[in-house]
Symmetry: C2
Subunit: 245 residues, 2 copies
Amino acid sequence: MKIDTDPKADLSAQIAKSIRDAIINGDMIVDERLPSEAELSDQFDVSRSTVREALKRLAAQSLIRTQRGASGGAFVRRLSYEEAYGQHITTSTLLLSMNAVSFETACEARYALERACAPMACERRNPDHLATMRAETHRQSQPGLSDESFCASDVALHRALVDAAHNPVLSYQLAGAVEAMQPLMNMITFTARSREEIVGIHSRLTDAVEAQDAAKADHALHALEAYTLHLGRDVMAARAQKSGD
Amino acid sequence: MKIDTDPKADLSAQIAKSIRDAIINGDMIVDERLPSEAELSDQFDVSRSTVREALKRLAAQSLIRTQRGASGGAFVRRLSYEEAYGQHITTSTLLLSMNAVSFETACEARYALERACAPMACERRNPDHLATMRAETHRQSQPGLSDESFCASDVALHRALVDAAHNPVLSYQLAGAVEAMQPLMNMITFTARSREEIVGIHSRLTDAVEAQDAAKADHALHALEAYTLHLGRDVMAARAQKSGD
DNA sequence: GCAAGCCAATTGTCCGACAATTAAAACATA
DNA sequence: TATGTTTTAATTGTCGGACAATTGGCTTGC
């Protein structure tokens, strides 16, 4: 087999790229078995260790799975939604935390995307989604809930809203924006007063979705964005002041 | 160092997870140097090969970079937008191609997300974005353009629209939806008539963005979605008929 | 002071060996 | 023959050692 890739990269990276391209191009289909490590060593003319390092790279990207024993080997793996979600969320979270994205930018993106889902969610929501949204709203009104649990419940509610749109592609893309904001949201201290405000907006949002009133849902999401931004700015201002001491 | 992870997984996977968690938790900051492979072998009590396989997994996820020579080693890597984009697009494309997502679903998600950007793009667009959109629209009206180039130009135009919103988080999330649709779009044969129609809508869209008329942009995107869906359905119907012969 | 060369640390690659796992083949038994 | 057991072969997982390649710092000579 040939490897006409960047010659300055490591051999294991070149080999991984070669196989990755074959999978992405569709030259190898799902569940197809790759040659054994020994055969790959021969084909690429490298040691088994190097082949193994290449295969581990592919495994890290969920492109292959390996199985031991006779008739074992490496197989092209079907990328499931669940795994893709997980990878997407991890990457998004790291991207935000490592690149100092402002609270405003993340917040704006999140709510813009949610508003994009809202009309579809209104149209297609079923009782399950509404029940989840109501249950999470109720949980958020419980006194004694930790800030972290409040945030987690918030994410669950918004996830229900997104899922109500019944579009897996949309859910997948949204997951990154919503979940990646959680670390930022966790920095906020939610007072009783602010929780009350948020719960109120969540109620209005759920009502709108139930009534299939897209305009009202859009309005509620705008209100939520404005209020979240307000809370976030207070926190950032306090942090800035503290660091300036 | 401890590894209290799933004991049924490979050692290299456990070690990779252990280090990955440390990076994600923020225990290791960007550009911090990991212990050398030899030290990691000692700490985790495994062979150097196993450590190397773990490190290759992390490198495949762009979490670390390695450097040879004295004062070399593995360093926590800052995840750049460019790399995250690339990973995101690859994953999104594979997710669509491996899971038989319908053209309708992908199309709906794409345009819903683009409509989410439109108001911000109208507000913040600058001459560069408008120029790109106009240039790509013009290119699309050139006779003799291949279907593939037409698609690529289409993506470029929509990318300019998204970038005009000046929100990198939004651009990042959108990239997955827009670019992942390209393989599906490439299956479409664009007739002179359909190109004319699309170019017309693109012109209206660009006009709307220039005039900062969000409602008009939204309308154009709705029209584009409806027309794309129409074209896609024809192709899918033809394919279904052909496979039924 | 400076340049050249040497040195040590570190990753990259290779090799050979053995353990663990697993499916299939061979075999034994009722 | 049917069935359960054992053996075998293929394959990945792990280990240890060896050497090459790279690279920054140190030493030495001038």
